[in-house]
Symmetry: C2
Subunit: 209 residues, 2 copies
DNA sequence: TTACCGTGAATGAGCGTTCACTTTGACTGT
DNA sequence: ACAGTCAAAGTGAACGCTCATTCACGGTAA
């Protein structure tokens, strides 16, 4: 039948998503109009609606991309040797050694999505699922580290994984909002903090126990 | 002449800001209309414009509140004993022991503001200034800790302060987006990570007590 | 050939903002 | 004390604009 080939259809769809990513990254979700996206993609305003139900649908697609970028790599941190190594692995896709442009755009979208999570129920559910999966992956890696003797037994894998996720998210915000893109320095300092102990005296540890 | 008293004027203004805070927290910046805010404040649509130049102006006011909440407390962390204590102090206003509602609302606004930073130049400048100030305050506290011998000399105060800010921001996101509001558990785990060293093996100089 | 694809002007809803008008309350003169 | 005064404050319907979405039509590829 006289459609276009699936291949071409996929390519068109991908082009629209890529255009949306650029627009969202540059202007933000709410300052980007559907005609903006269409123009950036080189198609007419109506064409996008052959591929997406609406703007919301495109945002969800982008959100899926950001989740994949952030969480998928964590699923295969098999043999992380230490807590600091775990962060390095976690932060790897963020560091932007590869695909610098696409990664940067997606990170700018990520921060905007955090804001969307507050009002978009289905998006929050998806994000929460991804977060819990990532946290579980990190916790598993930490448990393996404890078995191997490279991670202290006192570490609570689930709680430590939560701390690592906080570090990852904070790192993203710093890069995107404040231009602090030296991920390596961040990881290095974290290594110092966790491996050499920032605390020498138990004096100020009323938080313990 | 026949105005209202300055006191009353201030109160009205504060009521509008408070209404905006509630609306923004509940519906998000872009899903909240000016009439929404006015209705929540119990005034008519036009009244808000006697107090604010426009919606943008109200958002800026809220942004100022969030910056004050997050950064002002850090300016007086005089005698933090350790890295983990520093985070506890940093996270204190966030923990929501006091003003639970107002703090929660402001934190939800905070996450949305992160998204605004990407496209609002003046807001990013203000946020960056607050961030650098907070980072400097934390770095100073760390230096004092080093002088007092409660913080390891290997710690780079500026970099470590950056890590602490990432933890704070990540903690906020977890609370707001994923409902993880157990700040105490977070601080406790961080204490374990920094004080007992998550890493036992790789070339770790052992400066522990 | 023909069923789908792309087009872009049209549509309608929603929003920020304004403004002609009414109400209010601080000041004034007694 | 107090009533009158009047500029500012409050009102809410209306305006103009933007934007997401639609659709009737010409184009195109299987």
């Amino acid at each position: 039948m006289p459609r276009i080939t699936q291949e071409r259809r996929d390519a068109n769809r991908a082009a629209i998503v890529a255009a949306a990513r650029r627009c969202f990254s540059r202007q933000g979700f709410h300052q980007t109009s559907m005609p903006d996206i269409a123009r950036e993609a080189g198609v007419s305003a109506g064409a996008s609606y052959r591929y997406f139900a609406g703007k919301e649908d495109i945002i969800l697609e982008i959100a899926g991309e950001t989740f994949a970028m952030m969480f998928a790599p964590l699923h295969q941190v098999a043999g992380a040797a230490s807590v600091a190594d775990l962060l390095a692995a976690t932060a790897d896709p963020i560091s932007g050694e590869r695909d610098r442009d696409a990664v940067g755009e997606l990170l700018r979208c990520t921060v905007q999505i955090w804001g969307e999570l507050l009002t978009n129920e289905s998006m929050r559910e998806r994000a929460a699922a991804g977060f819990e999966q990532a946290r579980a992956d990190l916790a598993d890696a930490l448990r393996r580290g404890q078995s191997a003797g490279t991670v202290a037994a006192e570490v609570d894998p689930d709680q430590a994984a939560r701390v690592l996720m906080a570090l990852l998210h904070g790192l993203i915000l710093q890069r995107v909002a404040f231009g602090l893109d030296d991920t390596a320095a961040f990881a290095r300092e974290l290594q110092v903090l966790v491996s050499q102990a920032g605390v020498l005296t138990p004096g100020g540890s009323e938080l313990k126990d």
